[in-house]
């Protein structure tokens, strides 16, 4: 298994320039990275840094926090998918990430789910035109993102099946899933074909693996046994310098 580092949270020691963070990650042996926004970055120099250090950009975000359960947001959402897709192509990145946005308290979940599925379908169609995959991420409502509509893995998976296009898949965030008290094995079993990416962080504080209560050796073994063979995305707040924060998970991967 390979590691992919969020250079929004890791390698901040290298400074504000994301090219510098890419180089710092490569120096630490991490040649797959992830970013959040594309619009606040110089894509040309980032591309140059990625190429120079033979690093692959694994994901970037669709810059919409819009509540997709509101049809009024769909047009702007699809436009953001378009922009994210273009940026992704420019950076040779194949995955653009979205969530559902918040839910509305006075409409039942079932109709809101259907409306979000319509938005995702529109987004996945645009993503397909650009040859990228729209990946839907589960976010926890218990601790970090109260109000979010799609806060369970099963609801994300159901929506992805309903969209039914090869250009939509799941970003399975194990941290968010565990904060929702899910059992990763049970959630993912039978659905590995839809998992395009996995992210991790330890609980309870979203810090590096080894600083919390999760047995990452067991978690990664489970993912591997279920057939996941992509990179493991590190999206955590390091409690120490980035290189040192990697030690625990690197050792687990070596011993897997």
């Amino acid at each position: 298994m390979e590691l992919s580092a969020s250079i929004e949270l890791l390698f901040r020691e290298a400074g504000e320039d994301f090219g510098d963070r890419v180089r710092a990650a490569a120096d630490a042996g991490i040649t797959t990275v992830e970013i959040w926004q594309h619009s606040n970055k110089n894509l040309k120099s980032l591309r140059k840094a990625l190429d120079a250090s033979d690093t692959c950009l694994w994901t970037l975000l669709v810059e919409s926090r819009a509540p997709l359960a509101d049809r009024e947001t769909h047009k702007a959402f699809v436009e953001q998918v378009e922009l994210a897709s273009r940026a992704a192509r420019e950076l040779r990145c194949e995955r653009i990430v979205t969530g559902s946005g918040v839910g509305f308290p006075y409409l039942r979940r079932a109709p809101q789910h259907e409306i979000v599925v319509d938005a995702l379908k529109g987004g996945a169609e645009v993503a397909a035109e650009h040859g990228v995959v729209l990946v839907l991420e589960n976010l926890n409502t218990r601790v970090d993102h109260p109000g979010t509509l799609f806060d369970t893995t099963s609801e994300c998976l159901a929506a992805i099946r309903e969209v039914g296009l090869p250009s939509i898949a799941l970003l399975y965030d194990v941290y968010h899933s565990l904060q929702m008290r899910e059992s990763p094995r049970e959630e993912i079993e039978g659905h590995i074909d839809l998992v395009s990416h996995v992210q991790i962080a330890d609980l309870p504080d979203r810090t590096e693996p080894g600083t919390g209560r999760i047995d990452w050796s067991a978690q990664l073994r489970d993912l591997k046994a279920l057939g996941y063979d992509g990179p493991i995305g590190l999206e955590y707040w390091p409690t120490t310098n980035s290189v040192r924060s990697l030690k625990h998970i690197q050792r687990i991967i070596r011993e897997l």
């Binding site: 509305f104 308290p105 039942r108 979940r109 409502t141 993102h145 109260p146 109000g147 509509l149």
Partner: protein, 258 residues
């Protein structure tokens, strides 16, 4: 064993849109306690007289729950709204006003949002004290009915009630919402019963009348007895039968038996 109170927003709708007619219908069916939501959009004086004429006592009203209390900028307006809601309740002879959290915001931690809401409730508690009413804090489910609200697990409401620590601020435990959110009342109730001032029920799934879903009501009523609950049971459901009185016969019989 338990006195029942009927929600007149969801039930006795067969009597028509006028709340007065629903009061009359509920009274005719033998109910002497009722619950409504907002009072600010209603003719309170007329309703007070109707309640009195039919010998129906109002157990709870609701302060408009749409205020986004996680935003401190809403608090001043909320306190005005709460004062009017409390005055409306009092005019109807009711001393319990339900307060919800309103919608959550996604990019702030839950703990911080709960603290902000607790500050609003704490300020409302001073008004409640002045007017001699009790604030009932209620969690509602996000799984089925109310996605996006902040108070979705009983523990969210408990955190705020305990944080405010005022005798004027108590818990409304809605067993339907609790079950719909994935909780087991047998785990939750023993822990929180000391804070509970009112209990509401409906069956799950479907939020129909007790007996229309999967909840074992003999067991749940037994649990409420075991934990020492002696208050009123508010029925807040969407009856699956045309006649609310007929729909509620099962739970009435059950309450009469034990």
């Amino acid at each position: 064993m338990f006195e029942l109170s009927v929600n007149l927003e969801y039930m006795f709708r067969e009597a028509g849109d006028d709340l007065a007619d629903r009061v009359a219908q509920a009274a005719k069916a033998g109910f002497t306690r009722a619950e409504i939501f907002r009072t600010d959009d209603r003719d309170v004086q007329t309703l007070a007289k109707v309640l009195e004429d039919h010998g129906v006592e109002l157990s709870t009203t609701v302060a408009d729950p749409r205020t986004r209390l996680v935003d401190p900028a809403t608090h001043e307006g909320f306190l005005d709204l709460f004062r009017r809601a409390a005055e409306g309740a009092i005019a109807l002879g009711c001393r319990r006003v339900v307060v919800g959290s309103g919608p959550a915001v996604p990019y702030q931690k839950r703990a911080v949002q709960l603290e902000t809401v607790a500050r609003a409730v704490s300020a409302a508690a001073d008004i409640a004290d002045e007017l001699d009413v009790t604030i009932l804090i209620e969690a509602v489910n996000t799984r089925v009915d109310h996605p996006g609200v902040l108070f979705s697990e009983t523990q969210d409401a408990v955190t705020v009630v305990e944080g405010v620590a005022s005798p004027r601020v108590r818990l409304l435990y809605d067993l339907y919402h609790s079950v719909a959110e994935g909780e087991n009342p047998a785990d939750v109730l023993p822990r929180v019963i000391g804070l509970v001032d009112h209990v509401q029920i409906a069956d799950h799934p479907g939020r129909g009348e007790p007996g229309s879903g999967n909840i074992d009501w003999e067991r749940q009523l037994g649990l409420l007895q075991d934990v020492g609950y002696s208050g009123v049971l508010g029925i807040e459901c969407h009856p699956t039968r045309a006649s609310t009185a007929e729909a509620l016969q099962y739970i009435r019989d059950l309450c009469a038996q034990s």
